[in-house]
Symmetry: C2
Subunit: 579 residues, 2 copies
């Protein structure tokens, strides 16, 4: 009751919108419209997948419904249509959505902007639909609708429940003024009188308490029942039980990271998107809850798990998820999968530039501590001919600016494996891994474990901690940094090359370590990165030189673009000489 | 022909995706899926609006159809559903969309992720639908479908045209391998032979040339006809003609900016969202092509134009657009309005944090040089109780990182007017104006015209150009900067306060001006801004102190959050003393 009284107050468990990290029992952080609905599709997907993998003819160990309530605003958002289309396609029969059809949104009656036939749209998306005409008091109708929804096993169900917003308030019901504002004392009085409710504020009558407290025993007995069932399951199906347990607990198998490939400078050059596929496939073999997919770019993002088939309506035990061209829905569904069980580790993929399509979901992943792995290939102008609409230049910084998320840009095989190691270990914050389309050499000096420090020295010919120059690079430009350093070293200069693969992790290192990598004394610094230079001042200081791209890209072969935009060894050398 | 041969080459007019700024005749920059379709809804809205305003019973001066082609990928994207729902709601009868139903996307057959009934969905959204079953060679059916679409005047039409991707290629037709890759010489030969096409590469037979060149005369005569009609219109309806001309040419009325309100420190404190509404209403009175709206937050964003009604199906001459909760669609539709005519100046609004929902459209606005005005209220933790999902902290930087866009964060009335002046003048780059929910005082030292310099001194008690300290603020924190400076001045220190209202504009100033505002000699610098501190190194240097918020916000009354997170006068003073 104290929590309720602290509604919307500092550090209360009852903030303005439900937050899974503030309030026990809140499963997903929602508020931004349409997200919760898409999360629910992810939750229902997780249930269908786990049920298919772990249930036995004699023991149904995973078996629950996913319920979600959504309003008119959620229905207008594109992300909900994306998620609904997938839910229909996958036949998520245990997903039941209540659409609170109160025909009022913040700007007034929905007639002013929302006159489509929502139920007909859902039918077109492959859903079963039901209409409860009196959602204010038609409890039996709602109960009947739920029963009907459960009977339909091959389709998700939308129950359109027509209601009156502010039901009971004589003067404000059915108006937008009850959406976000309190009724005010006068109207509270009028509403009490209208509803014949004469208890003190915050008083719950005994009768109501009694009614609801039944659920405590009910819940306890359901839990005991399941525990007994699981004990039996464990006896009969030892290996499956262990696997399911690890998914429920989130405990990673021991030495899981040994599965990640390592490389030497002699290993073949390769695109980091291909090296990423090696990681994904290695991880899926050892981590039972590892699953994911791409927004219709699996063969470009290189995200297919070769040992598994597609998660589909009739093959839900498989782990390759086909999201279609629905980046936003993909992100929000992945958030739902991540919060279903701590051991489910979803990854999802598209071109890096299209993080813009799914940014609202990525932000909720960060805010709600969902450790989704965002696999983002074609990470710079290096993608070439597709041109500026497809070439990210500002996305690195726009994500580095976001709290509680790791933005990783590996330079080669070891760093790609390192990025995945970091991503898997960070179950409470998501990772974005930016990967190249083009081939990159395996560099000397990179390592899997150094990635966890965010930034580290990959080469240095100075004998003290005072090189003449520090060149800092990330991803595909680390090679350029290294080549330029080699040239400068031939001319007798001492040069250090630093890989700054993850700024957030570097910032978390002890001051002493940071100083050992980037000594304050050395102010001759150059950064090179195929993206906007904005933000690099942090590491190169006011005397340093940032080489990057401060405009949109352009359509041409990648090599030509790198050259024309000045991302070259020659340019680094020239900058070094001009410093 | 040379352009075609330079397909996807550096600075060619035939880049990998169509770009309106590279190629004459390309109306909108597309490539990211679903955007072009939503642009088309904006183009059709513009036509309907202008037709309603300018056509006379005897003279139809605005009268054209909008055609758009979209594929399976576009149909899967949520943004297209948002735009389609609005097009149906508005009854855009002259919008004709061809849906290239080739059932192939990049990952293969659309069966793997897209099995909804698209036409039924569009019918639910209020569209008329037609199906052309043979889109490969059924030219007459396509012509008949267009005729039918034109007969239906109260609904937009979706013509589903079933086609074979790579039609004619004997081995690659109907596969994803023809989506983005060239056929290869062997398959080109096979295709030529199959289609009986034996001309040299890049040769257009005379017969074909003749057929298409008819359109040159046809177009010229249509233009002459319209010019004659417009001459007549000009005579009969002088004032309307002048107004329409200014919309077509983009020429602003003389002294339009006099309409913007100015303030003195004695003027009442007010939320910049309210001051923004003054600007919007002032501008709409003097600029004929000024129109826009909000994504269901008109009364929160304060974006209603009081002298106009709602743009709706039967009142298309009005200028308040009700976008519903569809931020992404709103952005893309606004881009379409902006490119329809240079004199149409669309604004669109939501909470600042929800720029994340529409970021892909904002980026295309920047890339395609569409001067949309993005009115973004509730611009920081200052919105209070709604909590972290609604509180932007990283959005300022994520937009400052984007090329060709102005990120403005005005501090008071004068700066808000200044921001709108900049936004209206920048017709080739969009502006994002971040506005407060909470009241702010009218500061001494701010001015409308200084905003165009991006950064300027609002107060300074030093006699030379060497104050002891520079405090830099933006938006709602400029007041805190000023108050702290006053306290420090009382203690005998010389302090300069700088408003950095628009970083991009400040960067464009001559070095001399920048040095006059932020002299390199003065390294004692403090920034204060209610957002992430990342990026401020650029202006405060490595010795400076950035006061901001490097985590997500929290639900509580605004004043409490400012205090708890350290955005206070006391904190600035303490930082000044610690420097």
């Amino acid at each position: 009751m104290d929590d309720l009284k602290a509604f919307r107050q500092w550090r209360s468990r009852t903030p303005g919108h439900p937050e899974n990290f503030e309030t026990p029992g809140v499963e997903v952080t929602t508020g931004p419209l349409g997200q919760g609905f898409a999360n629910a599709v992810g939750l229902a997907l997780a249930e269908k997948h786990l049920a298919a993998r772990f249930n036995k003819t004699d023991l149904n160990i995973v078996d629950h419904y996913t319920y979600v309530i959504l309003g008119d605003g959620c229905q207008m958002e594109g992300v909900s249509n994306e998620a609904a289309s997938l839910a229909g396609h996958w036949g998520l029969g245990k997903l039941i959505a209540f659409y609170d059809d109160n025909h009022i949104s913040i700007d007034g009656n929905t007639d002013i902007a929302f006159t489509e036939n929502v139920s007909a749209r859902y039918e077109a998306l492959g859903w079963h639909t039901i209409w409860v005409k009196n959602g204010n008091t038609g409890y039996d109708d709602i109960r009947a609708a739920i029963k009907e929804a459960k009977r339909v096993k091959d389709k998700p169900t939308l129950i359109k429940v027509t209601t009156t917003i502010g039901f009971g308030s004589p003067n404000k019901a059915n108006t937008y003024s009850v959406h976000g504002s309190a009724l005010g004392s006068k109207e509270v009085e009028a509403t009490r009188s209208n509803l014949q409710w004469f208890h003190e504020p915050f008083h719950v009558p005994d009768e109501v308490k009694r009614h609801w407290s039944h659920h405590i025993d009910e819940g306890a007995s359901l839990e005991a029942e399941w525990n007994a069932k699981f004990a039996e399951y464990e006896k009969k199906y030892h290996q499956e039980a262990a696997e399911l347990k690890s998914i429920i607990s989130g405990e990673l198998p021991s030495r899981w990271d040994n599965a990640l490939p390592t490389y030497t400078p002699e290993s073949s050059p390769d695109a980091t998107r291909n090296l990423s596929q090696q990681c994904l496939n290695s991880l899926a073999k050892v981590i039972p809850g590892f699953l994911g997919g791409s927004a219709d770019l699996a063969t470009s993002n290189m995200t297919l798990l070769k040992m598994f088939g597609d998660f589909q309506r009739d093959t839900p035990e498989e782990r390759n998820i086909r999201f279609g061209v629905r980046e936003h829905g993909m992100g929000a569904i992945s958030n739902g999968i991540a919060v279903h069980s701590p051991g489910l580790i979803p990854y999802c993929a598209t071109f890096f530039v299209f993080t813009d399509y799914m940014r609202a979901a990525i932000r909720l992943s960060a805010l709600s501590e969902s450790g989704v792995i965002f696999v983002m290939t074609h990470d710079s102008i290096g993608l070439g001919e597709d041109g500026p609409t497809h070439q990210p230049v500002e996305q690195l910084f726009s994500l580095r600016a976001m709290p509680n998320i790791l933005m990783l840009r590996p330079a080669d095989g070891n760093e790609t494996s390192g990025a995945y190691k970091v991503a898997v270990l960070n179950r409470k914050r998501p990772s974005v891994i930016a990967l190249s389309r083009q081939k990159l050499p395996q560099l000397k000096g990179t390592s899997v474990d150094s990635v966890s420090k965010g930034g580290y020295i990959i080469s240095d010919n100075s004998s003290d901690n005072k090189p003449d120059l520090i060149v800092i690079g990330t991803g595909s430009e680390l090679e350029i940094a290294e080549k330029a350093a080699d040239e400068l070293r031939k001319e007798g200069r001492t040069v250090r090359v630093v890989s700054l693969v993850c700024w957030e992790l570097f910032e978390e290192q002890p001051e002493k370590y940071k100083e050992s990598v980037l000594p304050s004394e050395v102010t001759s610094r150059i950064s090179i990165e195929a993206g906007v230079t904005f933000g690099w001042e942090k590491y190169i200081g006011q005397k340093g030189k940032a080489i990057g791209i401060d405009s949109f890209g352009i359509s041409a072969p990648a090599g030509k673009i790198f050259k024309e935009l000045g991302l070259t060894v020659e340019n680094v050398i020239a900058a070094a000489k001009a410093l």
